[in-house]
């Protein structure tokens, strides 16, 4: 059922130029990832294939963004790299968000002892520098895309815990929480059916912006060799591989870096647009 508030939110969103830019960029990235097999001119180049005749060739009609050191089409590899990045981001957020939000809800609602314990646990995870945590985890287990995701998930959930904690503390003051308590509703009901829906706009906005940042961190890790390994196409490792050929084969680094910029900025702008739309509703 459409309400006055919802249409205000829609209107605020569609009138916001940067939100629309964000939406466009995100749509491009998502479409590329979904239909990689169809869109990429040389889908096989995403795998263990080489064409030494075309090594390190600059952008041309045949290879729109050039080729890498073993002759693989950069454009195709970037498209598949987008797919991998989005998959990673989705998996990380799908795990980190529920864990973090649950910890935050409990921490914000329960009594002082439980609250303290939960939030200090959160602080411990927040205190560890993200890349150090990533390096330890992937150092312990061999570097791979999956271990990279585990590392990022471990460093990501506390931010959702913090967010959910603050939101829950605010919502706890509201009359409807007191009403649910006096009516006799159970604590899980109050947390997940009463308080959580009021936190969703902020959580969803953060998740949207986070897709970009997870990809950025994942790229940083694979830049350092801690993420996906060859021959899997990955944005960060492509930047790393191309770095030593600068400035001659500039396309080897420039285009992957640009690809990272596009996806991070796209999700950032989209997330901001969502946040402003949510504010307009209230």
């Amino acid at each position: 059922m459409r309400l006055a508030g919802d249409s205000a939110a829609w209107r605020a969103f569609w009138r916001n130029p940067s939100a629309l830019v964000g939406l466009t960029l995100v749509a491009l990235v998502v479409l590329a990832a979904l239909f990689a097999n169809v869109i990429a001119p040389y889908p096989s180049h995403a795998g263990p294939v080489g064409d030494f005749a075309a090594m390190s060739a600059g952008p041309s009609a045949q290879y729109l963004l050039g080729t890498d050191t073993i002759g693989r089409d950069l454009l195709s590899r970037l498209i598949f790299a987008y797919r991998l990045s989005l998959e990673m981001a989705i998996v990380v957020l799908a795990i980190a968000t529920p864990i973090g939000v649950t910890v935050g809800l409990l921490g914000g609602y329960l009594g002082p002892v439980s609250s303290y314990a939960l939030m200090r646990l959160t602080d411990v995870f927040l205190a560890i520098p993200p890349l150090v945590l990533a390096m330890s985890i992937t150092g312990f287990l061999a570097p791979s895309a999956i271990h990279g995701m585990m590392a990022i998930t471990a460093m990501w959930w506390p931010w959702y815990a913090r967010l959910a904690y603050n939101l829950t503390r605010a919502e706890k003051q509201e009359g409807y929480v007191l009403a649910a308590e006096t009516v006799g509703a159970s604590t899980p009901h109050i947390l997940f059916r009463e308080i959580l829906p009021n936190c969703m706009p902020a959580i969803l906005t953060k998740m949207t912006i986070d897709v970009g940042f997870v990809i950025l961190i994942a790229s940083s890790m694979s830049f350092l060799g801690l993420g996906a390994q060859a021959p899997t196409p990955d944005l960060g490792s492509m930047v790393a591989d191309g770095a030593r050929y600068m400035p001659d084969a500039w396309w080897l680094t420039a285009f992957p870096a640009l690809a990272i910029l596009i996806v991070v900025m796209g999700f950032n702008l989209l997330g901001d647009g969502l946040r402003e739309a949510a504010d307009a509703r209230d």
């Binding site: 309400l3 508030g5 509201e174 409807y176 007191l178 006096t182 006799g184 159970s186 009463e194």
Partner: protein
């Protein structure tokens, strides 16, 4: 002499303020509510009225004293679901009291689901009946609170409380946030419901004029102490404490008769010094 439904016996409560000071919210307060009676608690800010409501609802425990419901001691221990059902709350602010992310129907249905009242398949019908009881059209069940006015929201809150089939309603300034015409309508509704269901009300307010028509007994709280209590007529005919007289004398009225009635309580030598600083 009927057994009281609720007794508050010698109850005290202290809080630590943000500045680290001990605040005596309530000192040795005793009141009771008989079945089907409306007992009004008059208090301004700092009187302890909200603390009293919180204690009766079981939100926290008294430092000293007891609270009994139907003779059994209920303070100092966890309340079983059946007891929570029997004592319900109507809050001052209808905007905050309803979850804007849940429809009216979902909010009113909550007690039915929590307490397993009636067959699940019939609960939506029960919600419709409850909405009709508070003079709201049943199709409001699909609306969210944002689409409702203040008076309508308060009536939804009342319907939700009634869904529990309570025996005692604690009403904490239920009409203070409403416009005058809306307030009249809600008071009419509350009066009718009490009569039809035989409910008891603990009606907390600062507005003596409101209680004159609806309460059988009145108790006055000042700074955490019970300073006066008695049948409504007595409180209005011959208030005993200076505080009650000052309360009566401060109320803005609109008719000559009321002005004459009120001005008896206005002394020319009004203590006019500044209030104690915060």
């Amino acid at each position: 002499m009927t057994e009281p439904l609720l007794t508050v016996e010698g109850v005290s409560k202290r809080f630590r303020s943000a500045a680290g000071q001990d605040v005596h919210a309530l000192s040795d307060v005793s009141i009771d509510v008989k079945p089907g009676e409306c007992h009004a608690i008059i208090g301004e800010s700092g009187s302890g009225k909200s603390t009293l409501a919180g204690l009766i609802l079981g939100l926290f425990e008294p430092a000293t004293g007891l609270i009994r419901f139907k003779g059994a001691v209920v303070s100092g221990r966890r309340r079983p679901l059946a007891l929570k059902r029997a004592i319900q709350l109507i809050q001052q602010n209808p905007r905050s009291a309803l979850n804007s992310r849940r429809t009216v129907g979902q909010s009113v249905r909550l007690p039915l689901d929590v307490h397993g009242i009636g067959k699940r398949s019939l609960r939506n019908e029960r919600v419709a009946e409850l909405l009709r009881e508070v003079d709201l059209p049943p199709d409001y069940a699909n609306r969210t609170p944002r689409a409702l006015s203040g008076g309508e929201r308060q009536r939804v809150a009342i319907a939700r409380a009634l869904a529990c089939e309570p025996q005692l309603l604690v009403l904490d300034e239920p009409t203070s946030a409403l416009d005058v015409l809306v307030q009249a309508r809600v008071l009419q509704l509350l009066t009718r419901i009490r009569r039809e269901r035989g409910l008891a009300y603990l009606f907390i307010t600062h507005d003596l004029a409101v209680v004159h028509g609806i309460a059988e007994r009145v108790s006055v709280l000042e700074k955490g102490e019970l300073v006066e209590t008695g049948p409504t007529r007595e409180i209005f005919d011959s208030p005993r404490t200076a505080y009650t007289r000052r309360l009566l004398g401060s109320i803005p009225v609109v008719t000559e008769e009321e002005a004459r009635f009120r001005d008896r309580f206005r002394t020319s030598a009004e203590p006019d010094g500044e209030d104690a600083g915060a």
